[in-house]
C-alpha cells in the first residue's frame, strides 16, 4: 500500500517538478560522460599529460557534486514544505511517523532512480560527442563506441549514492522531528512580515559600497606582481556584496515605487512590485546563492575563453609557421660564431623537410644588429626586456615576406623611415620610446619613425627578441647578422613524431659552454615544429576549457531550475491572485503581460548584479591575462560572449517556466 502511494505521488511530482528532473538528468549525464571520458583509453593515450586531465575532472566533479547535491537537497526540502499539510493529514489519520518518513524517502529514491537510468544512456551519448570533440582537437580519427567502462559507472554510482544518502538522511531526520501541528501549519510560515525595512536599505547601501571597494582592491591586486591576501579579501567582499544587494534590492524597489503615488498606481506596478518583494523577503538567501552561482558561471566562461584565446595567441606567436629553423648561424653570438658548418646543416634540414612534406611557403631571412642598445636600454630600464639586450633590425622586404606568408598585409616604408613591431607585453614601453626617438641614426642612415604596432607580434620571428626595428633594405647592408632563420609552411599538418625523427636523423647541434671555469658540451635543437608544440600545449588548454564549461553549464542549469520550481510551485497562490484579478475585470491579454513582467523581474534579479560584476572583474582579469591575449580588447568580447551564452540557456528555462506558469495559473 505504502509503495503504491509513493509511486502515485512520485508520478504526480514528475509533472510538477519536470524542469527539476530534467536538470538532474542532464547533470548526471554530464557526470557520467566525464567519467566515461577519463576512463577511456583512447583519450588517456593522447598525451602523457592527460593524467592531469583526469585529476582535474575529479576536482571539478567534486564542485559539481556539491552544487547538484545542493539542488537536490533544496528541492527535496521544498517539496516537503509544499506537501507538509498532506503529511500532517497522514499523521492525523494515524499512520506512523516512521512510515510517513519512509513514504517520502521512497518517492525521492524512485525519482532519483528514474533520473539515474535516463542519465546513464544520455551519458553514453554525451561522452561520445565529447570524445569526438577532443579527438578532433587533437586531429585524431574517431570511432563511435558504445562500450561502457565499469569503473566509470561505479564512480558515478558512488557520487549518486553519496548525494542521495546525504539528502535522504537530512529529510528523514526532518520528518521524524516534525510535530503534527508544525506539519499542518508549515506552509503558512512562508509569509513572514519583516518589518526592518530601514535595516535592509542600510544593507543595500553598504553592500554596494563593499562591492565598489572590492572592485578597487581586486583591480589593484591583479595589476600587482603577486596577488594574494588582497585578492582573497576582495573575493570575500564580492560574495558579501552579491548576497547583500540581492537580499535588499526588493525592498529598495518597493520603497521607490511606494514613495511615488504616480508610479505606484500606474498599471500593474503595485501588484508586481509587491509580489516581487514578498518573494525576495521569503527567499532572499536562496536568491543570493543563485546570484553567486551566476557570477561564478560568468567567471568560468570568461576564464575558459581567455585560456583558449591565450593558447591560440601563444601558438600564433611562438609558432607563426609550421617549421622554423634558427640559432644555427650568428656573427654576433660568440658561442656560435664560425663554429658550425651552417650551409651543410641548413641544406640537410631543407632536404629532410622537402622529403616529408609539400611546401606551401618558405622564407629565408636574417636578423641584424649593430650591437647598439639605444632603444633596448630605455626598454630595459622599464624592466620589460628579455634575453637579447640589443636593437635588432630586419629588412623591409624580409618582414613583408614574413607577413605575407602568415596571411597579413605588407607595410610600406619610405627610404628614410623606420617602423617598430613589438610584443604586446611591452606595449607601453614601445609607445614611449617611439615618442622619444623621432629619428634614429642606423648604419650611417638617419631614419624618421613611421609608427609602431604591438598587435600580432610573433615571438617565433626571432628567439629571445621582443621587438623588431623594420628598416629599408639598403640600411642593413653590411650589418652583422644576429641570427639566420628559415621559416616553412607545409601543406599537411606537421606532427610531433616528425619533430622527433628529424632530430634523430639529421641531428642537432652541439655547442660548448663554460660554467665556473669548466667547459662542457650542450645540445641545441635548432628547429621548432608546430605539431610538436601543439601536442605539448593542447592538453592543458583542453583540460581547463572543458572543465570550466562543464561547471558553467551545471551552474546555469541549477539557477534556472531553482527559479523555475520556486515559481511554478507557487501556482496555487498565483492561481488565486490571478483569478481574483480576472474577476475584477482584468483582460486575459494584460494578465499575460503581467505574468511576463513578474517572471522577467524575478528571473532578472539573480543575474542583474552578476552581469555588472562580470564586466568589472573581467576588466580586472585583463590586467593579468592582457599580455598573453591576442588583442587588448579581447575582454570585452568575453564579457559579451559569456553573458550571451548564459542568457541563451537561461532563456530556455525562462520560457519553459513562463509557459507552464501560464498553463498552471490561467488555463486550469
Amino acid at each position: 500500500m505504502l509503495s503504491k502511494l509513493a509511486y502515485r505521488n512520485s508520478c504526480r511530482s514528475i509533472k510538477d517538478y519536470l524542469i527539476y528532473l530534467i536538470t538532474v538528468i542532464l547533470s548526471f549525464s554530464l557526470v557520467f560522460s566525464f567519467n566515461f571520458i577519463i576512463f577511456s583509453k583512447d583519450i588517456l593515450e593522447l598525451s602523457s599529460s592527460m593524467r592531469q586531465f583526469k585529476t582535474a575532472v575529479y576536482f571539478v566533479s567534486m564542485i559539481v557534486l556539491f552544487v547538484v547535491g545542493w539542488l537536490i537537497h533544496y528541492t527535496t526540502k521544498f517539496m516537503f514544505v509544499k506537501r507538509s499539510k498532506e503529511f500532517g493529514t497522514y499523521l492525523l489519520l494515524g499512520i506512523e511517523k516512521g512510515k510517513v518518513a519512509k513514504l517520502f524517502l521512497l518517492e525521492n529514491i524512485f525519482l532519483g532512480l528514474i533520473a539515474l537510468v535516463i542519465s546513464f544512456f544520455l551519458g553514453i551519448i554525451f561522452s561520445n560527442v565529447m570524445t569526438f570533440i577532443i579527438m578532433s582537437i587533437f586531429e585524431m580519427p574517431y570511432q563511435v563506441s558504445l562500450t561502457v567502462s565499469i569503473p566509470a559507472v561505479m564512480l558515478t554510482l558512488l557520487y549518486f549514492i553519496f548525494i542521495y544518502l546525504f539528502v535522504l538522511c537530512v529529510s528523514y531526520i526532518r520528518v521524524r522531528r516534525m510535530k503534527i501541528y508544525d506539519l499542518l501549519y508549515l506552509n503558512k510560515q512562508n509569509e513572514k512580515q519583516i518589518s526592518k525595512k530601514r535595516r535592509r536599505i542600510y544593507l543595500f547601501v553598504s553592500s554596494v559600497i563593499v562591492g565598489i571597494l572590492s572592485f578597487v582592491l581586486c583591480d589593484s591586486a591583479l595589476q600587482g606582481e603577486m596577488p594574494g591576501l588582497d585578492l582573497l579579501i576582495s573575493i570575500i567582499g564580492f560574495i558579501f556584496s552579491i548576497y547583500g544587494v540581492t537580499i535588499s534590492v526588493g525592498d529598495m524597489l518597493l520603497s521607490l515605487v511606494l514613495c511615488h503615488p504616480k508610479l505606484k498606481y500606474r498599471k500593474d506596478h503595485l501588484f508586481i512590485v509587491r509580489e516581487f518583494s514578498s518573494k525576495v523577503r521569503t527567499m532572499g538567501m536562496t536568491l543570493g546563492t543563485l546570484s553567486l552561482l551566476t557570477a561564478l558561471t560568468f567567471l568560468s566562461i570568461n576564464l575558459s575563453l581567455m585560456m583558449k584565446d591565450a593558447f591560440e595567441h601563444q601558438t600564433n606567436s611562438s609558432m607563426p609557421y609550421d617549421i622554423i629553423i634558427d640559432t644555427i648561424y650568428s656573427e654576433v653570438d660568440e658561442s656560435m660564431a664560425g663554429k658550425i658548418d651552417e650551409r651543410d646543416l641548413f641544406r640537410k634540414y631543407d632536404q629532410y623537410i622537402k622529403d616529408h612534406y609539400d611546401l606551401t611557403g618558405k622564407v629565408d631571412y636574417n636578423l641584424y644588429t649593430m650591437t647598439t642598445t639605444t632603444l633596448a636600454n630605455d626598454l630595459d630600464d622599464m624592466g620589460v626586456l628579455g634575453y637579447y639586450k640589443m636593437d635588432t633590425y630586419i629588412s623591409l622586404s624580409d618582414y613583408n615576406k614574413l607577413l605575407r606568408m602568415r596571411g597579413d598585409k605588407p607595410i610600406t616604408l619610405k627610404e628614410n623611415e623606420y617602423y617598430v613591431h613589438g610584443n604586446q607585453d611591452i606595449h607601453k614601453g614601445i609607445k614611449e620610446i617611439v615618442q622619444k626617438y623621432k629619428t634614429l641614426d642606423i648604419n650611417g642612415y638617419t631614419l624618421k619613425n613611421k609608427g609602431y604596432t604591438t598587435i600580432d607580434y610573433a615571438s617565433g620571428w626571432g628567439v629571445g627578441i621582443p621587438y623588431l626595428i623594420i628598416v629599408p633594405d639598403q640600411v642593413v647592408e653590411g650589418m652583422p647578422i644576429l641570427d639566420r632563420i628559415v621559416a616553412y609552411n607545409t601543406k599537411e599538418e606537421t606532427t610531433e613524431q616528425f619533430s622527433i625523427d628529424m632530430g634523430k636523423e639529421v641531428g642537432v647541434i652541439t655547442l660548448e659552454g663554460e660554467y665556473n671555469g669548466e667547459t662542457y658540451n650542450y645540445e641545441v635543437t635548432p628547429f621548432k615544429v608546430k605539431g610538436a608544440f601543439l601536442a605539448e600545449n593542447r592538453t592543458a588548454f583542453t583540460m581547463i576549457a572543458f572543465s570550466l564549461l562543464y561547471l558553467a553549464f551545471i551552474f546555469t542549469a541549477v539557477v534556472g531550475t531553482i527559479l523555475a520550481i520556486q515559481t511554478l510551485s507557487d501556482g496555487t497562490r498565483h492561481q488565486y491572485h490571478y483569478s481574483l484579478l480576472r474577476k475584477l475585470g482584468v483582460e486575459k491579454q494584460s494578465l499575460y503581460k503581467t505574468i511576463r513582467k513578474q517572471l522577467f523581474i524575478y528571473f532578472a534579479l539573480p543575474i542583474f548584479y552578476p552581469i555588472l560584476i562580470n564586466i568589472i572583474t573581467t576588466y580586472s582579469l585583463n590586467h593579468l591575462f592582457g599580455p598573453i591575449l591576442s588583442t587588448p580588447t579581447f575582454w570585452i568580447f568575453t564579457v559579451f560572449f559569456s553573458t550571451g551564452l548564459f542568457l541563451l540557456i537561461y532563456l530556455i528555462y525562462f520560457l519553459a517556466t513562463y509557459f507552464s506558469f501560464k498553463k498552471n495559473t490561467l488555463e486550469r
Partner: protein, 255 residues
C-alpha cells in the same frame, strides 16, 4: 429606465446528454436601481450558478441577462473584462484580498484596473475608507486585521469605482455574529446613503432580513418572492423563516 439587472428565462445546464443537471432552469427577475435584494435557497438550489452567470464568470445555456440595458450574454471575451471592471463590484465569502498588498492597495486595485489617474486614487481611497470606518488600518496587511475589517475592505474595493451593481456571495459566511451584523449594517448604509444596488446570495435568514426583497430558489427555479415593505426587520425575519420552513431548508436559527 431604472432596471439595473434584468434576467430573462436564464437556463444553465451542466453535464452530458445522458445526465443533465439543471442548475438554473428558467429564471426571470429584475433588480431596480438602489435596491438591496437577497437570493436564498438550500445548497444545490442554483444560487452560486446564478451569481456566476450574472458576474460573467460562467456562461448561460440559454436566456438573456441585461445589465444597464446591455445584454451581457452577447458580449465577447474582451468586452467581458471591461464590463466586469466598470459595471460590477464583488464581495466574496472568503474576502479574496491579495495578501501581498496592504488594505489601501487592495482597495486601489479596482481603480488601477480601470486606469484611473494615479493622482486621484489616494483621495478616493480616503473618502471611501472614512465612510466604512477603516481609515486606521489602511497601511496594514490583510493578515494583520480581523475578518470583519477584511470584509469591509472588500466592500470598499467593490464600491470605490461606483459600479452599477454589487454582487455579494455569502459575505457574512466567514464572520462571527457581531462582525456579521456590523457588515450588514454597513451594506445597508451603502445601499441607502451611497445608493448602491446590491444583489446578495445567502443561506442565512438573518442576513437576508436586512434586504428589501428576498427571492427563494428551489431546484433551479424561483420558488417565492417576499418584500419587506413596511414591516420591521424582526417581522421580516420571521416571515423569511416561515418560507424557509416550507421550503424545507434552513431552519436551524429559529428561536
Amino acid at each position: 429606465m431604472n432596471e439595473v439587472l434584468k434576467l430573462e428565462h436564464v437556463k444553465k445546464y451542466y453535464g452530458s446528454k445522458k445526465m443533465i443537471t439543471k442548475a438554473c432552469n428558467g429564471i426571470s427577475f429584475d433588480v431596480k436601481k438602489k435596491e438591496f435584494v437577497a437570493i436564498m435557497g438550500a445548497s444545490g438550489s442554483g444560487k452560486t450558478t446564478l451569481l456566476n452567470c450574472i458576474s460573467t464568470i460562467d456562461q448561460v445555456t440559454s436566456g438573456h441577462i441585461y445589465v444597464d440595458g446591455e445584454d451581457i450574454t452577447e458580449l465577447k471575451e474582451k468586452d467581458l473584462s471591461h464590463f466586469r471592471a466598470n459595471k460590477l463590484g464583488f464581495v466574496f465569502q472568503d474576502f479574496n484580498l491579495l495578501d501581498t498588498l496592504t488594505i489601501e492597495e487592495n482597495i486601489s486595485l479596482s481603480l488601477i484596473i480601470r486606469g484611473v489617474d494615479p493622482s486621484l486614487i489616494e483621495k478616493e481611497i480616503e473618502k471611501i475608507s472614512k465612510k466604512l470606518g477603516i481609515v486606521d488600518i489602511l497601511k496594514k496587511f490583510p493578515y494583520e486585521v480581523s475578518g470583519g475589517q477584511k470584509q469591509r475592505c472588500a466592500c470598499a474595493r467593490a464600491l470605490i469605482h461606483h459600479p452599477s451593481l454589487i454582487l455579494a456571495d455569502e459575505p457574512t459566511g466567514a464572520l462571527d455574529s457581531k462582525s456579521a451584523r456590523m457588515l450588514l449594517e454597513i451594506m445597508k448604509e451603502m445601499n441607502e446613503e451611497l445608493e448602491a444596488t446590491i444583489l446578495m446570495v445567502t443561506h442565512d435568514a438573518f442576513s437576508a432580513s436586512f434586504c428589501e426583497r428576498v427571492l427563494f430558489l428551489k431546484d433551479g427555479r424561483i420558488y417565492n418572492e417576499i418584500r419587506k415593505a413596511d414591516k420591521t426587520r424582526k417581522q421580516f425575519f420571521d416571515e423569511i423563516l416561515d418560507v424557509l420552513t416550507i421550503l424545507g431548508g434552513d431552519d436551524s436559527r429559529v428561536k
